[in-house]
Subunit: 260 residues, 2 copies
């Protein structure tokens, strides 16, 4: 069984960790690796650490921005090592795996995003995610290696996929299905790119209305974003919300009404 | 919460993997590392890969034999990547963690044993274990790195320990208890050293009796061993069985009765 979930590594410093991540993915039946501004790639060290998983490195996509790497994904999970200023729905790896498998089907893709080794994902990157996942490390030593974190999450994905396979066995067995666990049709989730357009639209309208000020809007924007990211909007819902925004946009009413 | 389970690495080739294992253990609250004939130790590479977990390497015990490394343990788990000639009780990591936590308390120690990178544990080493654990890798690429395997098993131990902590919270919280999850007293399990003495005794008596022949006794001995390993004998039971053996030993009856 292949699990169609993208692993996104953002600004990885050590190429060995990219190789270790590829190997970890392949042992658990994942193959879609995306790299955002890797410090060194391709690299001999990555290939050596990938061992028999060098094919994943060859097929890996490389991106300039996280936005680009997750553009076609409907469900994006961010890995987080610590509590953040703005609270976000946070799950453990087991629940994360269940949520991801719930989200994917022929129409909907999912990604799990890992930050740089030393600093983790920025708040801005985490704000692109529907949920955050936190591996429950020991509070006195939470320095989990990047490759190890990829291994743990891919392991949980495989366990969850195998468990679903046991509950609803496929006639062709292990290798048969691309997206495990789906019985009924679901609406297509909005992709990350569609959500970004929506958030841009929302921000434009709210700056226009005076609700967001250009001097200190950061925390407020983040809280707004959380609401919609957490909702895991489908495409139709995004269309509706954009219709709402368009209808409310002060700039449509002419200069005399805006910033009232 | 510290989890008092020993991780035993047998004949590790790459010192980097020893360091990675130490780091993996420490992130999950384990600290008892034992090495059997490591190819290179201590080693700068191990220390570098251990990152903040070099203290585990400093305190690691080094042994000439597996028997020595697990001598004081009552419950020993062997990691296995593939099916073996002789069947053994085999569990997945989640059940393994539950079994290990069930086994440990102030009187009983447990160990999880990992073999060399390329070959895994020998059948002889696996025969020292009460259960085998297999991480459910993808059948087409099961080449899990040693450090990753340690990470996955320690992660499952920590989840299981946290779960037990939630069900029966301790007044002092996270850091309070050494052996998680025990409510009632249990008999002390026989240590691996006591079991070895028992198996030696059993073999001696059965060779004496003619049941085991010195030319081809291997498979048969293994099957016998499995029975008693799987039973997870306590010390009193071992004493009883040794009493049985002594009582049946043909050599006690004089030379005219033995090998009859």
């Amino acid at each position: 069984m292949q699990i169609p979930v993208r692993i996104v590594l953002v600004e990885t410093s050590h190429p060995g960790n990219i190789g270790a991540a590829a190997r970890a993915m392949k042992t658990m039946g994942l193959s879609d690796l995306a790299l955002v501004r890797p410090q060194a790639f391709p690299s001999e060290e990555a290939t050596a650490r990938a061992s028999g998983a060098a094919d994943l490195l060859e097929r890996a996509s490389v991106h300039e921005t996280l936005t680009d790497a997750i553009a076609d994904c409907g469900f994006v999970v961010g890995t987080s090592a610590r509590a953040r200023a703005v609270e976000w729905p946070t799950v453990e790896p087991r629940e994360c795996a269940a949520r991801v498998l719930d989200a994917i089907d022929a129409e909907n893709r999912a990604a799990i995003v890992f930050g740089p080794e030393h600093s983790g994902l920025t708040n801005e990157a985490l704000a692109r995610c529907a949920v955050h996942v936190q591996i429950p490390t020991h509070p006195e030593f939470s320095s989990l290696n990047l490759g190890m974190a990829v291994q743990v999450l891919c392991y949980e994905l495989r366990l969850a996929a195998l468990e679903r396979g046991r509950r609803a066995p496929e006639p062709d067995g292990e290798s048969a299905r691309a997206a495990p666990g789906f019985a009924h049709a679901r609406p297509r989730l909005a992709t990350a790119a569609e959500l970004e357009s929506f958030h841009d639209h929302l921000e434009r309208v709210l700056v226009e209305s005076g609700f967001l000020r250009e001097d200190h809007p950061r925390q407020l924007k983040l809280k707004l974003r959380r609401i919609f990211q957490r909702a895991a909007l489908d495409r139709n819902e995004v269309d509706i919300l954009r219709g709402v925004l368009t209808s409310l946009d002060p700039s449509r009413l002419g200069p005399e009404r805006s910033r009232s």
